[in-house]
């Protein structure tokens, strides 16, 4: 048993010395990832890209005066790059990447609105990157929404001013109706008729077509200006009611013209109804006046509250993924080169003759790299925690357990590569392919949810996927790692260890 440990220790010592004899390698392994994260943290711009936007609008378009005003005030991500009438010239500018997008406003925008149809603004962009193309479309949609909201807001404010005038007329009408009712109670029909005629005069201007009562947007004298609220707002309904009341008052006045009238109760009820209608109208108009435009047009706002116990910078967040990737890559590379090197050196033949078993060789190599990678991780962690101030909320025990499990399974992959490779270049290539796969399939750049479910076969075969998730749980959520996932990771490592042992044993048997 003593000899068993001596032989294992021989490999542990040999591998560790071998790596430590290359101080530049160790320095690169520790400082490399740290510097990348550190520079990324310093250099990351925590804001969305500003889009240089060129507008194409006809010279005589009624929208032209609004374009620049809106374009310069919609938000920081839209940079007004000018206005032109020539679409082809604008597209050439876009082709030369002097602007990020071109917004084409159709020349017949006003006529389209008059036809009660929506106007489509065409956005041209020149993005190769699908993500960036998506961003341009997303950003421009938001800006068009904002534009719509502003146009509606201005129209609404204009209607509020009209509502004030109408409310004053309704109040005057209410006073007249009140006096008419009092006169009717006194059976003073002439006085009642006099008040009804006064009521008619007060509502006279509402007796026409309600649409004629409403004007275009504030400040617009242009007959072609959009008038989208004309038949849809409460005001138009109110106007219709007022016109109806005016007609009712006129009819009542005519009926009271009959000198034979004895029973005034019917007319009193009609006046009471008119009074009630006026009260209701007053209430509606007061509401229109009082409700602010933003509340009416954007009644719902969003306030997000993140319940994650820590506020993360972008570089902090990527730390978990980088640590997992680094552990996996270093372990795979060390292990992948290890047995190929022994083979090329002829050491495997020597081991075939020596009283050392494949199990002792593998265990010795696993242990040596676990110790080495552990030491590298300790140094890297100190730099990350104390210099970059990356938060560490969870248990250090869990942190170490994750490192151990990820390293073990990654080493298993590395040794498998090493046993199946016949040259160093093959081993290096295979290690790089593992790294490349990890960049795309571990959720390092984009969440696993964005991938089709069948790609999970690749994702969940990669130790870095588990490592990233575990480190996010431990470092930023202070949660224990999922036992199920941990079991899965260790199981992969264990199965591969057994496979490696079988392959190494077959390599060391007689041919």
């Amino acid at each position: 048993m003593k000899r068993f440990f001596i032989r294992i220790f021989a490999f542990v010592r040999k591998e560790i010395i071998n790596v430590l004899r290359q101080p530049r390698l160790v320095l690169t392994l520790v400082l490399g990832p740290f510097l990348i994260l550190f520079i990324f943290g310093l250099g990351f711009r925590d804001e969305a890209q500003a889009l240089r936007t060129l507008f194409v609008v006809e010279r005589d378009s009624p929208l032209r005066p609004y374009v620049e005003e809106y374009a310069t005030t919609l938000g920081p991500q839209l940079v007004y790059a000018g206005m032109t009438e020539d679409l082809e010239a604008a597209l050439r500018v876009l082709q030369n990447q002097e602007v990020d997008d071109v917004v084409h406003i159709p020349p017949d925008a006003a006529q389209i609105i008059d036809r009660q149809e929506q106007v489509t603004f065409t956005i041209y962009h020149n993005e190769l990157d699908p993500t960036q193309a998506g961003y341009v479309e997303f950003a421009m949609n938001i800006y068009v929404d904002e534009l719509n909201r502003r146009v509606l807001s201005e129209l609404y404010r204009d209607r509020q001013e009209q509502a004030t005038g109408m409310r004053e007329d309704v109040e005057e009408a209410q006073e007249v109706v009140s006096e008419a009712r009092e006169a009717l109670q006194r059976d003073d029909l002439p006085a009642t008729r006099q008040q009804l005629q006064a009521l008619n005069r007060a509502l006279e201007r509402y007796g026409t077509d309600p649409e004629d009562q409403l004007e275009g947007p504030a400040g617009s004298d242009d007959a072609d200006a959009p008038d989208t609220l004309a038949d849809t707002t409460i005001l138009s309904q109110t106007l219709a009611l007022l016109a109806g009341l005016s007609r009712d008052a006129d009819a009542l006045d005519e009926e009271l013209d009959d000198p034979q009238i004895e029973d005034t109760e019917t007319y009193s009820a009609t006046l009471a109804q008119i009074d009630q209608d006026l009260q209701e109208l007053h209430a509606i108009l007061t509401t229109v006046e009082e409700v602010p435009a933003p509340v009416l047009l954007s009644p719902f706002l969003i306030e997000t509250v993140n319940i994650v116990p820590v506020d993360l910078e972008m570089a902090d967040y990527y730390t978990a993924g980088v640590l997992a990737l680094l552990l996996q890559h270093v372990a795979i590379t060390f292990a992948a080169l290890s047995i190929v090197q022994e083979n090329l050196l002829g050491a495997l033949r020597l081991f075939q003759v020596a009283p050392v078993s494949p199990f002792e060789i593998l265990v010795g190599k696993y242990l040596s790299y676990i110790i080495l990678i552990g030491a590298i991780l300790v140094l890297l962690t100190l730099l990350i925690i104390f210099i970059m101030n990356v938060p560490m909320l969870g248990s250090w025990g869990q942190y170490a357990l994750v490192a151990l499990a990820v390293t073990f399974t990654s080493l298993s992959y590395g040794f498998l590569i090493s046993l199946l490779s016949t040259t160093m270049s093959q081993a290096v290539q295979a290690s790089m392919i593992m790294l490349l796969a990890s960049v795309f399939f571990t959720g390092f750049f984009q969440g696993l949810d964005l991938l089709m479910p069948w790609t999970g076969v690749i994702s969940w075969a990669l130790p870095a996927t588990y490592g990233r998730i575990f480190y996010e749980q431990v470092m930023f959520r202070a949660m224990p790692v999922s036992q199920f996932l941990m079991l899965g990771l260790v199981l992969i490592g264990g199965v591969l260890f057994a496979v490696n042992l079988i392959v190494l044993r077959s390599r060391m048997v007689r041919h």
């Binding site: 032989r7 010395i17 071998n18 033949r349």
Partner: protein, 314 residues
């Protein structure tokens, strides 16, 4: 010396359906030095790999220390020392660290400084023990390789061309050490391209193109090559063909070879008595010998002679 450390019978190994070694049969007595001599590519390394268990023979039987190599357990492997033809040294490790690693994989006790010192002294690397292997010469690397083979004191050594690439002085020291190991009761199976090294061996096997031509003692090989002792003679006069033919008729003469018009080499039964006979024979033919002496032919000559004879026989 009677117990056999190695026994092979009809060994055969093929690579890509071509015989690398065929019908190789020999015995190596325990406590002896067995020299396996042959040119590069003759099958020496293949044979040593079969003996150590690295390669499995396609045919034939092997017994090493009483067991077939395929059934060696860890204890048995600990009794064997193998020095491969190419260095198996880790270039970034120092001389001492490499030696330590070799000792450890054989499970040697961690208190091994005495053995380490002895091994380093033997190969004269004490002064260089802290140098990385990639900073020492090729000769030093071979010496270190030998030290790594000796460190665990094996019973049976398989040394694949241990003296290749080292200077003659050190080569002689190596053989001196091999002799000491033999005196200590160890068995050494040594392959070499240096035919002259056959002189250090108890038994020599000559391997040509995968076939074992002969196994014999160095003296026995000489006898096989020339049939007895060799005498070199010089005359003042030209040595005619007729004179050579007459000389070959003498009963004690085994062979006559003319080196130049005045110099011949004569194979005889026993040089001690036959020199006087030869002097008289030449005087009787009015040909005075200006120089005559017994000489020991080099093993290179013996090797060439045997190979020629083998090819002539084929």
């Amino acid at each position: 010396m009677n117990e056999m450390a190695i026994r092979t019978r009809g060994l055969r190994k093929q690579y890509k359906k071509e015989d690398a070694v065929r019908d190789v049969t020999f015995d190596v007595a325990a406590g002896s030095i067995f020299g396996f001599i042959g040119p590069s590519g003759s099958g020496k390394t293949t044979t040593i790999r079969m003996l150590t268990g690295i390669e499995k023979p396609d045919d034939g039987e092997i017994s090493v220390l009483g067991q077939p190599p395929a059934k060696f357990d860890q204890r048995m492997r600990g009794r064997i020392g193998y020095m491969p033809q190419n260095f198996v040294l880790y270039p970034d490790l120092t001389v001492r660290e490499n030696l330590n690693f070799a000792a450890s994989i054989y499970g040697m006790n961690l208190r091994r400084s005495k053995e380490m010192k002895t091994a380093l002294e033997l190969v004269e690397l004490v002064e260089h023990q802290h140098k990385p292997v990639n900073q020492i010469s090729g000769g030093m690397q071979r010496r270190l390789s030998l030290a790594a083979t000796l460190i665990h004191s094996p019973t049976l050594f398989f040394l694949d061309e241990p003296t290749t690439g080292i200077d003659p002085v050190l080569r002689q020291k190596f053989w001196q050490r091999f002799k000491e190991l033999q005196a200590d009761g160890r068995t050494l199976f040594i392959t070499t391209q240096y035919v002259s090294e056959a002189a250090y061996c108890d038994q020599v096997g000559l391997l040509i193109a995968g076939r074992l031509l002969t196994v014999d003692s160095p003296e026995g090989l000489r006898m096989q090559a020339y049939g007895g002792d060799m005498i070199r003679a010089e005359t003042a006069q030209h040595i005619s063909d007729g004179l050579i033919l007459d000389l070959q008729e003498e009963t004690y003469v085994r062979s006559v070879m003319r080196r130049d018009p005045h110099r011949i080499e004569i194979g005889v039964e026993e040089a001690g008595t036959d020199i006087a006979r030869l002097i008289k024979w030449f005087e009787a033919r009015s040909t005075a010998l200006t120089f005559v002496e017994e000489y020991v032919p080099s093993f290179d000559d013996i090797f060439v002679s045997l190979v020629k004879r083998h090819r002539a026989g084929e």
